[in-house]
Every structure is written in structure tokens, then in C-alpha cells.
């Protein structure tokens, strides 16, 4: 008997478990879009060149078109459908909406997922190609417009919404930093 070309897998997406049989050739992107009806993740090139299919895998950015669905088993997958908290938009989503960080909207879910990754990576102290001081003790560089441009360059936008995308990421990062500071303060007060 020839080896099977499909398997039943369980994917953990946005906190929910989905069990499905998949053809081993199926990418995570196609599993999301074609099998699970999670079409918010977009297919712009299917070659890892445009970033439209960006999702978070265990909190880190990944292009889902270059990931086989079978290899995503056991990982925590966050797609655009899982970014908002119920009806309340995530600050990144709200900033894209308010500042018009998009036009046609097709690259937008990937941009937003990527922005979530950027804000976390930056907070964790990861340098980028435009970071002046990359010594570990230097700490996170200021999240300047140049830092955002560099870090968001894996997500192409043909409509040319980059200027407002940069503004939206900056605004959301500030909001998150303020929230984190508030949380830290509350935490300190509680400890006292």
C-alpha cells in the first residue's frame, strides 16, 4: 500500500482547536482559506514575497504560504480573525481604520499581523537593519518612523498606503506602551 498523502491534524487557531484531514501539500494559508473558511488571511503571491498572508505563529510573524499545514500542528496560530477582543478592535486595527492605513484592504490583515509582531519584537529589544546601536545593553531603540518602515518592509502595499501605515503602527505602539506603563504602575501600587 502506498504511503498516505493525507493526515488528520489539529490546528490551534485563535484559541480554538480545529481538527481536519489535509493533503500533505496543503499550506497553512490554503488550510485557513480553503478548508476552515478563515479567509481574512490573504494570498497575494503564494511565494513568500508579499507578506499578505502574514500570521503569528507562537507570537512571531510568519508567512503562512511557506508553512505546511501539517507542520503548524501544536503551534499557537493567530490570524486577523483573532486579533480583536470580541467587538473591541485591537489598537493596531483601530489605528489602521482611523488613519486610513490601507486602500483596497487586501494587504491589510497581513500588515496588521505584522505590526503586532513588530511591536512585540521591538519591545523585546530586537534590533533592525536601521538600528544604530545593536549592543544588547543598549535596550530597545526608539521606535522611529525609520524603524517602523524597515520592520514593516516585508509587507508590500501596492496602493501606496505606507505613509499612513507607519503613522498607524506608531500610534498603536504608543497606545500599547502607555497601557503597559499603566499596568506596571497599577502592579506596583498593588504590590505596595
Amino acid at each position: 500500500m502506498p504511503p498516505s498523502t493525507s493526515s488528520a491534524i489539529t490546528l490551534n487557531i485563535n484559541g480554538e482547536k480545529y481538527t481536519l484531514p489535509v493533503d500533505h501539500r496543503t499550506t497553512l494559508l490554503d488550510a485557513l482559506r480553503e478548508r476552515l473558511d478563515l479567509t481574512g488571511t490573504k494570498k497575494g503571491c503564494d511565494q513568500g514575497q508579499c507578506g499578505a498572508c502574514t500570521v503569528l505563529l507562537d507570537g512571531r510573524r510568519a508567512v503562512s504560504c511557506l508553512q505546511l499545514a501539517v507542520a503548524a500542528e501544536g503551534r499557537e496560530i493567530t490570524t486577523i480573525e483573532g486579533v480583536a477582543d470580541g467587538d473591541e478592535l485591537h489598537p493596531v486595527q483601530q489605528a489602521f481604520l482611523d488613519l486610513d492605513g490601507y486602500q483596497c484592504g487586501y494587504c491589510t490583515p497581513g500588515q496588521i499581523c505584522s505590526a503586532l509582531g513588530v511591536i512585540q519584537e521591538h519591545a523585546a529589544g530586537w534590533p533592525s537593519a536601521v538600528t544604530d546601536d545593536v549592543r544588547p545593553e543598549a535596550g530597545p531603540p526608539p521606535l522611529t518612523a525609520d524603524e517602523i518602515r524597515e520592520r514593516m518592509s516585508g509587507n508590500l502595499c501596492r496602493c501606496g498606503a505606507y505613509v499612513s501605515i507607519v503613522q498607524a503602527v506608531a500610534r498603536a505602539a504608543e497606545a500599547e506602551a502607555e497601557t503597559a506603563a499603566d499596568d506596571a504602575r497599577t502592579g506596583t501600587e498593588a504590590a505596595i
Binding site: 490573504k42 490601507y102 483596497c104 484592504g105 491589510t108 496602493c159 505613509v163
Partner: protein, 717 residues
């Protein structure tokens, strides 16, 4: 049931920033594009493209593929339904290459020779890749060059007055320069996708396009169907830029659903898009300017040449923009074409104006340099009162206000005109400017506006929102006409059953649709003002602007603008960085400042991308593209784009009910020229060939010549 009167009148939506009405759906991933709407029993089609550039198909070995798992059908010229291309559609005669599988001829590399239909897209793709197609290959010719044999002048593509040679001879200053622009691709992020099915005797197509009326009409013609039996919808469109009209994916989906009696979806791959969805032709242009000592133009001559396929003529009218922009005693403009074994090019954002303004506005800058006149002053000196060739009045022409406002905000007055004298570390710095113009037209449209019993309103118009913000602008326009808040207006678009309306193209969309919506909403408001109650089915008023649009007085109707750019050039690495751009536009009344600014800035980014990055390279040996993907074809990424500002001056169109002109394309016009002129100002070298690649900058920067144009090099000391 509610009373129709009694609510206070609200206006002021137009001109106020509004976030997109479909914004929530877009930022949450809920907005479904054409390839994302599920249908029961749907099969998947995958295209097989020719691997030769010219010849005949001698065999398609389908039997092996038909035996593969899940394969339902292999469509090809031996079994596909016949279609008719002998018709005149909305935009003229169709490109015959949309009629796939009709014969064994191969007109270019990457042309569909078969469609494999299977249960899943993986099965369809594997079978498509396994399908053996045999060819009788013939020699092909894909090499485009200025003046190459076979170049011809299509009827009606030249315009002239006066004797250019005589005026050039009498001129104090003469510029005679050749410019080229490469093949460029739309590369919108959403690939073309369509689902077709037969439902209750009608053909239903869910597609991503710039006009469902256009696509429905073409499909009805191609398949000899009653137009009323075709319904095309296109709710969300992931970018169009001129490429999303009738394309082979829709034709294939219709053929396949007809053959297998199930819904069929065909989605193009990114690589397939490079040969199947149109592109901007490369251009070879020559501009000759002759001027008096004070800079007044005596002669203006602009010749442009582009390529087209062997089977369909497409003219990229690059030489046409000067007919509006500048007057001269002698004025000659002509667009020429050469037929090659390539796909047919098509409209791409500002067709003609984008490449044409690059050549023309760079030539003006060269004249300003020669004559020792400021580039803005030179343009002011040549500002026409009426259409230079038509003699018609302008509906409005506020380009001087754009220069003035732009110069003030950019800091132009402090500019030292000398090239190659500013330095910031390894960077040479320069600034440049250019003018912009793009036609402002309207297309006849129909609309309906319904007063609902619950006090809300529903607008139905066959518009397309390809990222322009049209849905939101229409909502604002309707709200003002109805004197209610936009929150009470629901706008439904992109359904061919709504009736005819203009296309989302040529910067005509919002103007055309806004007109029809205003007429219907005005009448509805007047009817409701009479009092009474709204019945459960609502009160609907319909409009048709055919007569009103046709009655517009003949005028020169255009948007205008002024583009400014600052660049930094490292002549050692060849790197060019745009540091800032400013565009000031006179583009009619701005409906939604938030989304209009996005469109204008987006257009300017296209100009930046055109100036520095974009270039599709065709391989003469194979006849196909080198690296047809988003890595091989680079358009501006986030890190390529600096702070870019766009703004506008008052410029209401007095003949439009809403005052609109259109903002979709004007942003790209002149932008590449402003950057190229800034590169000259930084380095003293004229770059007349786009894109301004690092290798071209390095070669020019070392003093061996002006890029590939050594004869006319002008390298600063």
C-alpha cells in the same frame, strides 16, 4: 412605518474626513474578496500556459492527466466552447487573446493553452503542472527599441500645428533628448479571481473587477448571451489600477462551468498575472523644445513609441499630455506603435500621462537649465489661456496656484539652481519639481436611492470600490443630497443587476457615480418633503445621467498639480533615496479628505516607484519575463518611502453637480520627473532612462556618460 418629514436637515458630509464605511470589515478580515466566497460543489480551475512565444500547439496529452485524482476536465482548443470576438464592447473591440482555447495558435509566451478543472486546487495544480503540451515552435520577436522596423503611426494618433523644424531653427535654446520607460506591471495585491456558475438560467460571476457592467457586457458578447442573463458582482476589489477588466480567468471560469455544470473558480497565480493581466508598455520618447531667450516656447515636439501584441493594437498615448499642458508656435505630438510577439499592454494608472509626463517634464527642466530660468518661472511663462491645440476654454486650470502653494510649502524660493553642490556626508542632495495634468471626464450612469420605512436610505449604484474609497464618497454625497447624516445611508455597489454605471477608471468613477446619486437623491428629498408616510417597501427614485453628461459643453477638462521632490544620491553605491515629496493638486472638489489624500499620496508613491524601482525585463531568447514575481519585479516597499505630503487648492468644477474632477491618477503624473530632475540637481547628471537604477547612477557618476545616453551627457565638474 415612519413619517418622511420632521427630522432636521444635515449637510456637510462632503468635504469632511470619514473613515471607510467598509473599514471595519477590512481591518478584521471579514471583507470577502472574489476568491473567498464559498459555493457548494465548487470545482477549481488551474491554467496551463504556453512555454513558447510563437507557434502552434501540436498535441495536448490530456489522457494521463484525466486519470489523476480529482481531475474533472481538461479544457483546450480541441473541446472548449466557441466564443465570438467580432463585436464592439464598452471600450471598443476586444483583445482577441481573451478568447482562449479557440485555435492552435500561440501568440505569446504565457498564453493559456489549457485549463485543468479538479475537485481541489491542489489536485488541479498538480494536474496542470503534469499536463504535457507539444508545440511547433516558430521564431519570435520581442525586442523593443526606438524606431525599430515595423513601427507605424495609428490613425488619429498625431496632432500638430505650425512648422516645428522652422521654429526650432529660429529658437535661442533647443532641447532635443530621448527618454525611455520600461515595461511596468500593475501588481495589485489581490490576484485576479472569478467564480462562475449557472443559476436559474442565468450566468452568475463573482469577480474582482473595475466595472461589473463592463465585464458582464463582454461575457454576454463573447458567449452570445442575452445581456440580462448575465450577472456579475464584485463586492471587494484588492486593487485594479487598470488591469481588472475582462481577462482570461473569467472566460475560463464560464467555459468550465458550462462544461461541468458545477460552480468553478479560477484564480490566477502571481506568476501567471505577468503574462495574462496587461501591463504598461515600455516607451521610447523624443522631446524637442525650442524657446526664445526669455523661455517662451516656439516649438514643442513630443514623439512616443510603444509596443503592442501581434493581434491587438494598444496605444500608450504618452505624447498626448503636452496637448493640454504647453502651447508653442509650432506644436507636434505623435504616438507610434510596433507589434511584437508579446501580450497586449493595457491601461495602467495614468496611461500616457505617467510615462509622457516623465519625458516632457524632464525636458522642461533641461530647457530651464539651458535658459538659466527657474523651472517654475519657465512653466509660468508658458501657461496657456486656452487649450493649446483645441482652442477650447479650460473648465478650470489652477496649476499656477499649485506651483505657488507648493513652492511656499516646499521652500523652493531658497533653492540654489546649481547642480551637484550640496552634500550631506556621502550623499549629494537635490530638489526638483514637475507639473501634472490628467483629464477629468464623466461617464453616463444610473443610480437608485430608496427611502426605507425605518428612516434609513439605501443607495444602489453599479460602482466599484477598488480601494479608492468610492463606497464612502458615494455615501457622503448621498447624505448631503438627502440632507441626512451619512450613518443613515447604506450604499450598495458592484452588482451588474443595479444597471449601467461608469467604470472605476480614468479618474472618472466618483464623478460619474456622484452625479447619478445626486440626481436621484435630490428628487427623493423633494418627494419626501411633500410629506406623507414611507410605505414598507420604501420609496425609490432612479436616475440616469446619460443626457446630462452628453450635454456638457465642450471644454478642456483636467485636474492639475505640482510635484516636488528632494533626493539624496550616493554616486559611489548608486543609491538614490527620496527624502521627501510634496504634491499640491487642483483636482476638483474633494469629497473625503482622508481617502483622497491616501489616493494622491498613493499615486505619488507610484511615481517614486516608477522613477527608481519598477522594471519588467523580457528575455529575448525565450520571449518571456525574467523573474516574473514580486521579488524580480520590485515596486516600492515601506522602507523606500519617506514622508510624502499631498494637499490641494480650491478647484470646484463648475459644471459638475458636486464639483468633482477626480483624484485617482493625477498623483502619479509628473512625480517621476520631479525625482529625476532632483537627481540631476543633486549630481549634475541627466537620467533619461527609467528606472534610475544604482548601476546607471554609478556609471553616470564616474563621468563616463549620462547613464546609457553618453552622447548628451552633462556631468558636473
Amino acid at each position: 412605518m415612519t413619517t418622511a418629514t420632521g427630522t432636521p436637515a444635515v449637510t456637510g458630509a462632503v468635504g469632511t474626513a470619514h473613515t471607510r464605511v467598509e473599514g471595519l470589515a477590512k481591518v478584521t478580515g471579514a471583507a470577502r474578496y472574489a476568491g473567498e466566497i464559498p459555493f457548494a460543489e465548487m470545482a477549481h480551475g488551474w491554467l496551463v500556459l504556453s512555454t513558447i512565444a510563437r507557434g502552434r500547439i501540436s498535441a495536448i496529452e490530456e489522457d494521463a492527466v484525466l486519470a489523476m485524482p480529482g481531475v474533472l476536465k481538461v479544457l483546450h482548443h480541441g473541446n472548449a466552447p466557441r466564443v465570438d470576438t467580432d463585436y464592439t464592447g464598452l471600450l471598443g473591440r476586444p483583445d482577441p487573446t481573451i478568447a482562449v482555447f479557440q485555435n492552435d495558435r500561440v501568440p505569446y509566451l504565457g498564453w493559456p493553452v489549457a485549463l485543468v478543472v479538479a475537485e481541489t486546487s491542489e489536485q488541479a495544480r498538480e494536474a496542470a503542472e503534469a499536463l504535457v503540451v507539444r508545440y511547433e515552435e516558430e521564431p519570435h520577436d520581442v525586442v523593443f527599441a526606438a524606431g525599430r522596423p515595423g513601427t507605424y503611426t495609428p490613425d488619429g494618433s498625431a496632432a500638430q500645428k505650425g512648422d516645428v523644424e522652422a521654429e526650432l531653427a529660429a529658437s535661442e535654446f533647443v532641447v532635443d533628448a530621448e527618454y525611455t520607460t520600461p515595461e511596468e506591471h500593475h501588481t495589485m495585491l489581490e490576484p485576479h479571481a472569478a467564480m462562475a456558475r449557472w443559476e436559474d438560467g442565468r450566468l452568475e460571476v463573482v469577480d474582482s473587477n473595475q466595472s461589473t457592467m463592463w465585464v458582464a457586457g463582454e461575457l454576454a458578447n463573447l458567449f452570445s448571451l442575452d445581456p440580462s442573463s448575465v450577472r456579475v458582482r464584485s463586492e471587494h476589489v484588492g486593487g485594479g489600477f487598470g488591469s481588472k477588466g475582462v481577462r482570461v480567468h473569467q472566460v475560463c471560469a464560464v467555459m468550465a462551468t458550462t462544461a461541468i455544470h458545477r460552480p468553478v473558480r479560477v484564480v490566477l497565480t502571481r506568476r501567471q498575472m505577468f503574462s495574462l493581466t496587461g501591463y504598461r508598455s515600455p516607451t521610447a520618447q523624443r522631446v524637442r523644445l525650442g524657446a526664445d531667450p526669455d523661455g517662451r516656447l516656439r516649438a514643442f515636439a513630443h514623439e512616443s513609441q510603444n509596443l503592442t501584441s501581434t493581434v491587438h493594437e494598444f496605444v500608450e498615448p504618452s505624447a498626448t499630455v503636452g496637448r493640454v499642458m504647453y502651447d508653442a508656435d509650432a506644436h507636434h505630438t505623435v504616438n507610434r506603435v510596433v507589434r511584437l510577439d508579446v501580450p497586449t499592454p493595457t491601461f495602467m494608472r495614468a496611461p500616457g500621462e505617467a510615462p509622457g509626463s516623465f519625458a516632457m517634464e524632464c525636458a522642461l527642466d533641461e530647457l530651464a537649465e539651458q535658459a538659466g530660468i527657474d523651472p517654475i518661472a519657465l512653466r509660468v511663462r508658458n501657461e496657456p489661456d486656452v487649450g493649446p491645440l483645441s482652442g477650447l476654454p479650460f473648465s478650470s486650470r489652477n496649476v499656477l496656484s499649485c506651483f505657488e502653494e507648493g513652492a511656499r510649502r516646499f521652500g523652493w524660493a531658497d533653492r540654489d539652481p546649481r547642480p551637484g553642490v550640496r552634500r550631506d556626508g556621502r550623499w549629494l542632495l537635490g530638489t526638483g519639481m514637475a507639473a501634472a495634468a490628467f483629464p477629468s471626464n464623466a461617464l453616463p450612469s444610473t443610480a437608485s436611492v430608496t427611502a426605507e420605512a425605518d428612516g434609513t436610505f439605501t443607495v444602489r449604484i453599479n460602482a466599484a470600490d477598488i480601494g479608492t474609497g468610492a463606497r464612502t464618497a458615494i455615501t457622503q454625497i448621498a447624505a448631503d443630497a438627502l440632507r441626512v447624516s451619512p450613518g443613515r445611508v447604506r450604499t450598495r455597489i458592484a452588482d451588474s443587476d443595479f444597471g449601467p454605471a461608469g467604470i472605476a477608471g480614468g479618474s472618472m468613477g466618483t464623478r460619474s457615480w456622484g452625479w447619478a446619486v445626486t440626481v436621484a437623491a435630490d428628487e427623493l428629498r423633494e418627494r419626501l418633503a411633500l410629506g406623507g408616510t414611507v410605505p414598507p417597501e420604501g420609496i425609490t427614485v432612479r436616475s440616469d445621467t446619460t443626457e446630462a453628461v452628453g450635454a456638457l459643453a465642450k471644454k478642456e477638462r483636467h485636474s492639475f498639480g505640482a510635484q516636488f521632490a528632494e533626493v539624496a544620491v550616493d554616486v559611489a553605491t548608486g543609491e538614490v533615496r527620496v527624502r521627501r515629496m510634496l504634491g499640491i493638486f487642483a483636482a476638483g472638489r474633494i469629497i473625503n479628505p482622508l481617502t483622497a489624500r491616501s489616493q494622491l499620496v498613493g499615486g505619488m508613491i507610484w511615481g517614486l516607484s516608477m522613477a527608481l524601482h519598477e522594471e519588467a525585463v523580457r528575455d529575448a531568447a525565450s520571449g518571456g519575463h525574467v523573474s516574473p514575481d514580486l521579488a524580480g519585479y520590485h515596486f516600492a516597499a515601506n522602507a523606500d518611502v519617506p514622508v510624502i505630503e499631498a494637499d490641494w487648492v480650491d478647484d470646484e468644477d463648475p459644471d459638475d453637480p458636486v464639483g468633482i474632477k477626480g483624484v485617482g491618477e493625477i498623483g502619479i503624473v509628473g512625480a517621476a520627473a520631479a525625482i529625476a530632475n532632483a537627481v540631476w540637481h543633486a549630481t549634475g547628471v541627466r537620467h533619461r532612462h527609467l528606472p534610475i537604477r544604482p548601476d546607471r547612477v554609478i556609471v553616470a557618476g564616474t563621468g563616463t556618460g549620462s547613464a546609457t545616453d553618453a552622447v548628451t551627457s552633462d556631468v558636473a565638474g
